[in-house]
Amino acid sequence: MSECGTQPPDGSRSGEPELTCEQSLARVYEYLDGELDTAEHDAVRRHLEKCRKCYPHFDFERLFLDYVHELGAGEESRPGLADRVRDMLAAEKS
């Protein structure tokens, strides 16, 4: 792993294009949301395997998204809502 700054990490032997840190970070949410196509996803993953600058940043964003997702919309109660809904349904029925 290397500190690669904004330059593409070296060591590409596969012939695949290498992403810079800037290009990888621009795709962080699409990567974590599973919204990249396979080639782009692999390109980001290859960058992360080599770049110690971006890896923790992606990890942080993953923790953030997991936290918000687990929070969810949740359940909330509102006093009297169930009674008002039942009244509405009774009126609808009649």
Partner: protein
């Protein structure tokens, strides 16, 4: 074969109304914490569900069915409203260095174990509606970019940029809370 009205209502009450708190929770987040608006939304969605109850397939996921009706009800209202201007501060959020402040101060994300959920919910509620709706549908409800784009009637690229800006804004707010609470200095 039609079901007698009383039996129909009993079935609906026992299968559907048990999800009222979940419906209200989603309505509250979509409407940014506006309680009367959220209640109206729940009432409208429940009425639609009740009228469509004959078409609900017993044994399938009633909660998911109701949540979809509520989401669509909200989106119909949302899309009927005129386009709202995006606040300038949101247009510029990508350029604001403070959006990276949380990562720089807490790269390991310890804040996510310590922050109070209500503070994050308040921060989501405070997002401008176009951004909040994208976050609620994508991040809280787990819809794909394409699903959010279709629901909101906007291009996928716009969903991406709204999510980016909204998430950075939430991180800014989390940073402010963390400093206020003394978790970060």
């Amino acid at each position: 074969m039609s079901i007698p009205a009383e039996q129909r209502q009993r079935e609906f009450e026992s299968e559907a109304l048990v999800h009222l708190d979940a419906l209200y929770g989603l309505a509250l987040r979509l409407s940014g914490g506006d309680e009367p608006r959220a209640e109206d939304l729940v009432q409208e969605a429940v009425l639609k569900a009740y009228r469509a109850w004959d078409r609900f397939e017993s044994g399938t996921n009633c909660r998911a069915w109701l949540m979809t009706i509520l989401r669509n009800t909200f989106i119909n209202q949302f899309r009927r409203q005129k386009a709202r201007p995006v606040p300038v501060e949101f247009e510029q959020v990508a350029e604001r260095p403070s959006s990276e402040a949380l990562y720089e101060a807490d790269p390991e994300g310890q804040i996510f174990d310590r922050i109070i959920d209500d503070q994050v919910i308040a921060a989501i509620d405070e997002l401008p509606e176009e951004f909040r709706v994208a976050v609620v549908l994508s991040d809280l409800e787990g819809l794909s970019y394409q699903e959010v784009a279709e629901l909101m009637g906007i291009p996928v690229g716009t969903v991406k940029s709204r999510l980016f800006r909204a998430r950075k804004r939430l991180q800014e707010r989390l940073y402010d809370y963390a400093v206020e609470m003394g978790y970060l200095r």
